[in-house]
Subunit: 208 residues, 2 copies
Amino acid sequence: MIKVALVDDNVDLREGLQIVLKEHSDEFECIGAFGDAETALKKIPELKPDVVLMDINLPGISGIDCLKQLKPKLPNLDVIMLTVFADDDTVFDSLCAGACGYITKNASPEKILDAIREVRDGGAPMSGRIARMVVTSFKAPGDAAAQLTDREKEVLDQLCKGKSYKMVADALNITHDTVRHHIKNIYKKLEVHSVSEAILKTMKKKII
Amino acid sequence: MIKVALVDDNVDLREGLQIVLKEHSDEFECIGAFGDAETALKKIPELKPDVVLMDINLPGISGIDCLKQLKPKLPNLDVIMLTVFADDDTVFDSLCAGACGYITKNASPEKILDAIREVRDGGAPMSGRIARMVVTSFKAPGDAAAQLTDREKEVLDQLCKGKSYKMVADALNITHDTVRHHIKNIYKKLEVHSVSEAILKTMKKKII
DNA sequence: GTTTCTGTCACATTAATATGTGAAGACCGC
DNA sequence: GCGGTCTTCACATATTAATGTGACAGAAAC
């Protein structure tokens, strides 16, 4: 039996989902439905549901902030964001806040039930386009590293581990001055003017 | 009609999948099946399939490296990794290389066909546990920022934009010395000894 | 076989960062 | 009110990083 709670300011959707869950009362039990984050934050920690379906656009505290406050109290809680919006920021903010799934509201009731089952089974239910967004976010963008020589990449790699010039020199068995020479060229190629900027550009463009 | 190519060193699996695809010849066309990455790299750019099912553990060049070389030539190609392994590094390396999906070999033939359909429909088919791994990778680990004061976070934020002490001082309208003072405290709290390390720790722990 | 690129090293100067010590005003909780 | 923390600023000094210039050897390219 999976204990489910709902957080959505739309009464119709809340009631609709509750009916759907009751139709599958052998599997699911809806132990709470709330119209705003404030109420949810008060009640959910006591109710200890297994899964929460959370809307994002709520009056007052947003679903994402609600999730952020909920997660430390109930680390084992699986939260599925259920919302109409699916822009980059909203999705990634939700995942960073600890959401385990993200489905858009145009999903069928059966899909939503599947998502609840899936998330309890250790999965991460996501609408197709959301999953693709998430996956492509890993892909390294255009290879800005192509211009760097092998040795320069080695030096940059060392810098990206937090090492100083001297430590890099020791690690690569070259002199401090040679390290400087490479770094100067790295700066020119990456168009930066400090170690910090070089590291940041490297992280952002996934050069190494 | 979706044009599919297979890359796997297991003959049985190749032939099995080809049979399954033929059983759905109204939807799918298998236009190539290769036992190693070298052959695949030679043939696939000419064949221009829509989807490639790619094993990772291949003799010689790995499936991930094969994908890396394939992607620039065929940017619109959807590659699904189909493998027995599902450790962190393998999964994330695959996604960074440009894979659009990742399913384990214990998936049923019907699941594999679903995955091909899904990936062509703009989705990112993944086995449950893989999806969860991907999603949880976004979650910020234990809040190491809790110990930082608001002002310290502001300073660290500036540093993480590549600014120098002087620029931070200007941005926050405080003196260079005050910036230094904050940074010293940040170092102590994060247990680091340079801007680079502070930035790296911040990125890794998603402190800001 | 000369040029080009890469990697190596050296010397010199200026700018920025790291570390230490001290102190004053603001704000909060007890 | 008093002690604590946060924020602010100052002076001093040592280390590190940034920038400039010059040079040499090996490998690859022409």
